[in-house]
Amino acid sequence: MSWWTDRHFFLLAVIIYGASAVYSLFLWRKGFREDDRVNYGLLLAGMILQTKAMFMRGFSLKECPVHNLYEAMTFVDWTIVAVYLVIGLWPRLRYLGAFAAPVIVAIGVFALMPGLDPAHTDPPLLAANALVSLHAALTLLSYGAFGLSSVAGVMYLTQEHDLKFHKLRAVFALMPPIDRLEKITSRLLWAGLVLLTSGLVLIPWLLKSRPELHAGADPKVIWSGLVWVLYLALLVLHGRFAQSGRRFAWGAVAGFAFVVLTFWGVNLLSPSHRF
């Protein structure tokens, strides 16, 4: 098995996530009427393989594997699955997996694209590297939380649409009530915002070891600040101004779509984040 690299394990995990996504289509067609244990099991199996892959990469590098786009994407993917597996312990919330699986597969397939996993060439500067790892891990964890919040948002919009238009699935499906989905979306967004804030406040210390960089001119830092403001505005509008659940859910979905669609491009523009 020595020829099996961490990427092979991750590929296997993505295949299992793919099986989960296909199975989710059947669950959708059947109206989510049975307890979703099979999907939970598939995502758990994929998660075990992915964890193995990430540990292999981490041990080989002797640092948290978050230093290129492949690693960043796998970390976000792992966060989404891990948080889902915890939330999915409650049977009524298990169908979140059916909505999450396509997102998890999409991120996984993107991570496996050629050219996103160049070999590490930077000499390790241990103290600075630990801080970089922490910064990257916190921000990527936050994107994972935002990702799962968008999945909860899609689930909310589905259930809300079914209730509004009197679809029988609204009653027959074993899905959580929409007020709980709204709370889950909100809590995941708050968790993501706290993690993102924690990651961003490390930037001044990171720049001490890279004096040639200027945070104010770095597109990635500006982009991160924009993401932070967007999510904060979404949460404030929801909490203070009684924004409707549907708009809030759309906000969570749109927010993560923005992150996913711009993440790679902004990294290419950023001198400090060019992998």
Binding site: H166, L168, V171, P176, P177, D179, A242, S244
Partner: protein, 355 residues
């Protein structure tokens, strides 16, 4: 020694007949004592509900004779003349056992798959057991029936979903709100269906109920029954910001709530989700309110459609349940025993239950 079932049910007779056979709860021990003292039954359980009166017995007599004598006991006990039709049915041997299992599972109930009958059956059995009127055969049969009911509940969807308008309304509320206890309910129009719906909501945790009716006395009476508060019919909108669920069933000839009236009320409620259950005909609530954010409107037809679909789903499960019951009954009563029971011939002068 096979089990024998004899009785009347909603399948075989109308309520005008069934009510004459009913055993008051307090009279059950005496009736069981009388039945056993007559030598007709070695063991006996009497089940008496609004939809059925049945005697489950084990007799030393040949099955056909026991059936005739038990039938006569049922008539004599209630001082009734003989019935010309097939109102009284009998089932013996394996058929009797399968009938017991079907009753326990709600397959023989008026509302298919309902669970109340299982509690009633358990109570009837406990009464007989407590007065030592059961023995090896009935104890085993009833214990197995309870086990089969549990098995069918977990393995099939025969008991899934709501088949009444009130319980469908509760299910809808539970698809919007996590816990009903935190979401006040308002009932406008104190009719029978709205009362049932309110009771269904109460039974699932709703606590705070406002009742409004054109006749304030009726509103006060219903509010007292439900443990809620009566609201003047002219002032119901003043309490609206407090509520999250509205059940409306007035006899008003026009809508009492339309979009123009609801929009400011929603603002006052800070746009919290609102479930509107309109069970009035003609409708009380203008359908256009459903276009407002966070408003979910269901009328009587919507609720009935959901209930009907649930019932259809339950009907689709009947064959599966019957297969399980046949398998369980077969395991308990081998084919040979059934042959012996069948050899006794059809039960003379008795109808067969339409289970």
């Amino acid at each position: 020694m096979p089990l024998l079932v004899i009785g009347v049910s909603h399948h075989s007779s109308p309520v005008t007949v069934r009510e004459r056979f009913a055993f008051p709860e307090a009279a059950l021990p005496g009736a069981l004592q009388q039945l056993r003292a007559s030598g007709l039954a070695r063991e006996a359980v009497i089940l008496s509900t609004c939809n059925r009166v049945e005697i489950y017995a084990v007799s030393d007599l040949p099955e056909s004779l026991a059936a005739v004598r038990l039938r006569q006991f049922l008539l004599d006990y209630h001082g009734l003349p003989d019935l010309p039709g097939g109102e009284i049915y009998a089932r013996g041997g394996r058929q009797g056992l399968e009938h017991l299992f079907k009753v326990a599972c709600g397959l023989d109930s008026m509302v298919l798959g309902e669970t109340e009958i299982l509690g009633q059956l358990k109570k009837a059995y406990q009464t007989a057991l407590g007065h030592r009127h059961t023995g090896g055969v009935l104890n085993k049969a009833f214990q197995r029936a309870f086990h089969v009911a549990k098995h069918i509940r977990t393995e099939t969807n025969i008991q899934r979903g709501s088949v009444s308008v009130g319980s469908v309304a509760v299910e809808l509320a539970e698809r919007i709100f996590s816990t009903l206890s935190e979401h006040p309910v308002m009932v406008i129009g104190a009719g029978e269906t709205s009362e049932k719906t309110a009771r269904a909501l109460l039974s699932r945790g709703a606590r705070s109920i406002f009742v409004s009716n054109r006749s304030h006395e009726r509103a006060v009476a219903l509010a007292q029954e439900l443990g809620g508060r009566a609201v003047s019919f002219d002032d119901w909108a003043a309490e609206f910001p407090l509520i999250d669920i509205l059940v409306s069933s007035t006899s008003a000839p026009h809508c009492i709530l339309d979009r123009a009236r609801l929009e400011p009320l929603m603002k006052a409620r800070k746009h919290r989700p609102l479930l509107l259950i309109d069970i009035a005909v003609p409708r009380d609530i203008d359908p256009s309110v459903n276009f407002l954010d966070n408003v979910y409107l269901y009328n009587i037809d919507d609720l009935q459609a959901i209930a009907d679909d649930y019932l259809k789903q339950r009907r689709d499960q009947i064959a599966r349940c019957e297969a399980i019951i046949a398998e369980k009954a077969g395991a308990m009563m081998p084919a040979g025993a059934d042959v012996v029971a069948a050899a006794n011939g059809p039960l003379p002068g008795l109808g067969q239950a339409n289970a």
